[in-house]
Amino acid sequence: MQTVGCVDARLPIHSDMDLVWVRQHVRQTAAQLGFGLVEQTKLVTAASELARNTLVHGGGGEVEATVLRNGHAPGLRLAFIDEGPGIADLERALSDGYTSGDGLGMGLGGARRLVHEFAVDSSPGNGTTVTVTSWTVRPPRHREEH
């Protein structure tokens, strides 16, 4: 069972300076929680991709960071929230090589591979929220139950 904590930090995403703050906050928090170096780097990289999406495609927004405890290990949940145009074709947006900006088309699908849990809530006109969670220890395979 995971207990949902309250949001520990809320950071604005409105400039490339903000991307740097988001990365630094995620790295510091992940290090404090006991994430290993590789997992820290994955989480920071995923955060960077998603925060850039919020900035470039969502017209800016914010990220909410929440520390979680699921009984056997701490985790970090990051929710990237914008009120931009939303994603019309989510499946396409998640596929490698798809890009509507000037990246390499790895943002959303790539970020999904770097975290343990990944969810997108978006529809045209209603903005986008991408929520990712990683645990310091990858949870045992109880997720197969459902």
Binding site: T41, G103, L104, M106, G110, L114
Partner: protein, 125 residues
């Protein structure tokens, strides 16, 4: 940026702003075009994260340098960064790499005359 003979050594440190990375890209191209630079070594050993944006910047630096007749070698990437890049889906096949700046300089020096294959890692005995 530091010039070592015909080689331009660029050391990246810490967390780069997007605008800093783009400025760097422009500065490197201009330096190559206005000098006798035949090689560029980008030292990433002080960089904690490479995302798809910085990956694209590195690939473009190498592509532009190539059009300006200079070879680019990326040196010193941290293992955690390499692991993350591959999982992200970014293997950057056009980039040549070396484990250390010294190896990268040796690679470029050895290349001044005959063509060399891509193997840059030295086998340890």
């Amino acid at each position: 940026m530091l010039r070592l003979g015909d080689v331009l050594l660029v050391t990246l440190q810490g967390d780069l702003h997007d605008s800093t990375a783009e400025q760097l890209q422009q500065d490197i191209s201009e330096t190559i075009a206005s000098s006798s630079t035949t090689g560029v070594v980008i030292d990433l050993s002080g960089v904690e994260m490479v995302d798809s944006f910085l990956g694209r910047v590195l690939a473009e630096i190498a592509a532009k340098a190539g059009l300006l007749a200079a070879q680019t070698v990326v040196a010193g990437m941290r293992p955690a960064v390499a692991i993350t890049l591959v999982e992200l889906g970014l293997t950057l096949p056009g980039l040549r790499t070396a484990l250390t700046t010294e190896d990268a300089l040796g690679l470029l020096a050895g290349e001044a005359s005959p063509y060399r294959s891509r193997g840059t890692r030295r086998e340890s005995p």
